[in-house]
Structures are given as structure tokens and as C-alpha cells.
Symmetry: C2
Subunit: 99 residues, 2 copies
Amino acid sequence: MADILYLHRARTPEPLWREALGRRLRATREERGDRLVDTAERAGISPQYLSEIERGRKEPSSEMIAAVTGALGVDLADLLIGVAGEIRQAPAGPVLRAA
Amino acid sequence: MADILYLHRARTPEPLWREALGRRLRATREERGDRLVDTAERAGISPQYLSEIERGRKEPSSEMIAAVTGALGVDLADLLIGVAGEIRQAPAGPVLRAA
DNA sequence: TGGCGATTCCGCTGCGGGCGGACACACCGG
DNA sequence: CCGGTGTGTCCGCCCGCAGCGGAATCGCCA
């Protein structure tokens, strides 16, 4: 026993880095009451691309992350803590720990 | 006053995500007593590339990060906390670590 | 309904991810 | 003093995807 059953899909056993990051980024931006255009312009990137980042579609480089965090006025370390918390939210499901 | 002299590199005033990540990854691997080959093989990537990641030269994708953390037996959230701590080590003096 | 602000979708191009091959460096044994 | 082995790094190549421009879509209010 004690075998863990992956019932629905083995596609994404765990939350992906870029997805959690994107969610946290969007949450931070919305808390600030900023539009995509505003934050994107301050970060020096296109709003289209910022949208992709926030939805976890594209993989942002370290420089991009730095630019966005700078535009949002948050510290990278704080953001990482937030993302870690984001990931820890794995409430639903019988899965305790992915192998 | 209080101008900080960045003697050689004025490029990155702040630590870059991939650099802090790489340091934390290498530290974790060495704590485990693993060689590049071992971790790389478990992660399903080439040892050359893992070396590049650990030294912050290349930008690993989310899937790569997941593979490496899996190979190291650490949780992504824990890793992020560690990286955050890594960044928080703000060099009190002008520069402590010489390249 | 129609116009407008905000976000998302589509397709293209340049650059960097990822690896194969060879090499540098240290530490051995003979 | 050399060969050899074990570990990590450097050099380039190539294809995939980052990043953006253009345009469609989705509310929302007059």
C-alpha cells in the first residue's frame, strides 16, 4: 500500500516555476492597481509579453524578472518568498508528496 | 556621498535570479556529495549544462529546474526560500566577494 | 449599438538554451 | 617524473522559443 495514485493526469505533477511566478506577479500588479501597459512601460517590455509572463506562458529571463520586479517596486527576495507560498498551496487532492 | 564603487562590473547592482539559483543548486548538490554526472543523469540533462546552470551562465527553463530539484530531492518551495536567503545576503561593505 | 480601454491571440525573427566534443586541473600509482 | 583517471569547464553548433508588432476579443458605459 501507500502507493500514491495519480488519478487525473501526470502532465504536471507539481506547479511549475513560471506559473507560480506569473500568478504572484499578476497579484502584485493588481494590488498596486496597475495596468499591463503601465508596469510594462516602466519595465521596458511590451504589454503583450508581460501578459504572457503573468499567465505562465513564456519563460522570462533573469533580467526580465529584475525589470518587472523593479517596475513593481518589490524586492526579488520578497517575491521569491511569495512564490514559495504560492506553491505551498496544494490543498486539494490526496497527494502528499510528489516523488 | 556613499557612492559605491563597482570597480570591475557596474552592470548588475542587484543579484540576478539565475546566479542565486545556481549557487543554491550547487551548494545543495555538494551537501549531498553528488557529482555533476550523478545529478545530471538523474535529472536527464547533460553534465555540461548542469555546470552552466550552477554557475549562473545559462537560463534554465521551469521544466529543467523541476528536473534538477527532483534529482536533488528537494522541494521547489524550499529551494526558493533558500535562494531568497541567498539574495538577502546583502554585502555590507562595498564588495566582499571578489570574482 | 458603437466606441473605447484592457487584455489576449497570431505569426515572425534573432538569439540563446542545450548538448557533443575536446580540454584543463588535480590527484593518484609506478 | 610521467601516465592515467576522475571531475569540472570551454568551444561552437543548431533548433526552439523568447519577445514583439499587428490585430482580434472582451467587457463596459453612453
